[in-house]
Symmetry: C2
Subunit: 269 residues, 2 copies
């Protein structure tokens, strides 16, 4: 039977129609069971992260993408909060500014890559350069269309050098997004999250879907696969992301390193 991760992964080169995906889908997982399983996954992650940190020879990069209010911040909060912050670095990529604009678009991405032994989390990423940039014509097609290949080569190189890459696209329906924006307007503890600019992006919904489809088709690779997460239900989203990451870390066979020299002769005086 296929695991949850296997159901969520985008097979390299396959056509994807995000607009056809049921964002409520939960693959038969029940909410109560999901809560227990999330807790177990966070414990697994915490243990695996400690070994990754002790080993200090490889790194893990988690990329989160999704339309506004899809739950990128919420996923980090609910899935990553059990991790030791000493071994985690979250980078939120905004509109490039200052010296970021004086370099190629992958420059700031490379700079933010996690160091050996740690987990890097990208809240948005270089994929904005084939998403928002494409949707709003911030660069000509001749420029952004080359980026799929550039990104693949960049990620391949990272992966060959020891960075395990996992990419998640959180997908909510347009109705769910409206509901979440309304909550941000109504709940005083959420007002700070509301942005009128975000809500205007709704006019570009279909253009974003096209851009996501091409990104998924071209950039889900063996060495850096995309997972598409139906994210209307936050509990399922959290479970699914934690499940995939824990599974991938387990397959890395992380072990506490053996000492380089013989310790048996050492005396503490």
């Amino acid at each position: 039977m296929a695991t949850l991760a296997e159901k969520l992964i985008v097979a390299p080169g396959s056509k994807f129609k995000l607009g056809k995906l049921d964002a409520d889908r939960t693959f038969g997982v029940q909410k109560a069971a999901a809560a227990r399983k999330l807790e177990r996954n966070i414990e697994r992650l915490s243990e695996l992260q400690y070994r990754l940190y002790a080993e200090a020879r490889r790194a893990v990069l988690v990329v989160l993408q999704g339309i506004d209010a899809a739950g990128k911040d919420g996923t980090i909060r609910h899935v990553m909060t059990g991790l030791n912050p000493q071994g985690v670095r979250v980078t939120s990529f905004k509109v490039p500014e200052g010296e970021e604009r004086r370099h190629d678009y992958l420059w700031r991405i490379h700079r933010a890559c996690p160091e050996w032994g740690s987990i890097g989390i990208f809240n948005r990423s270089h994929y904005e350069d084939v998403l928002v940039v494409r949707v709003h014509n911030l660069a000509p097609k001749s420029v952004w269309s080359k980026r799929y290949r550039q990104i693949n080569e960049f990620e391949r190189s990272l992966s060959e050098c020891g960075v395990t890459i996992l990419k998640f696209l959180l997908y909510i329906s347009k109705e769910e997004q409206a509901k979440r924006f309304e909550e941000r307007l109504d709940d005083p503890s959420k007002n700070w999250k509301f942005s009128a600019a975000d809500s205007r992006e709704r006019d570009y919904w279909d253009a974003y879907l096209d851009a996501y489809d091409e990104m998924l088709e071209k950039c889900s690779t063996q060495y850096a696969p995309w997972y598409v997460i139906p994210a209307n239900r936050k509990w399922f989203r959290n479970l699914a992301v934690s499940d995939v990451i824990a599974g991938v870390l387990e397959r890395m066979k992380l072990e506490f390193p053996k000492p380089a020299t013989d310790l048996s002769a050492v005396k503490i005086t």
Copy 2:
């Protein structure tokens, strides 16, 4: 009755004799009660951190110092693991190298300061420049002796600009350090933490105590106080650090920000 934080703080300008401190001291706190209290403190911290993040106008800087094996990493692991890594950045300062050596000693420190809305944790810090540097004569006295004032002025400026600074010195006895080093030698899952160089630093124990004493006397200020934590008992150390941080964050009166514009007229279409 004095709070735990009040008992642990070093009054500005007071003489301190670290060598006279009982590193087993727990101020009457019981171990079982401490575990429950630590859990509550982590929940408080998590909630306060979220408000700090939402407010995004101020930052918090936690400095951790202590001799090898005093528990700096363990404190981060046990106290900070409940925090959302999106709002926390841990920086471990090692022996300066590369471009760090081509700048003054505070340059890399300033660069690593937490951005508004976040908590920065320094695992070692600029205080190494009046500790290891002094103990091993890595700079002449005429250089390091000016640093107490430089550090105070630097921290005062940070604090005036909106960074709340808390500094913790974790203190273990020489016997406890030997015990912890032995554990690192004996336990295969801890071998990776053992460093022969660390164990050789034991020869300088008294010189470190003198350096700590002067640091505490000169650099515990109203705007950036030192707290000295008896740290032989890990459970007490974790409780004490979490208690101080949670208390300080509570006094910051962090609130979810009010919207800049009237949201009642906004319609999501």
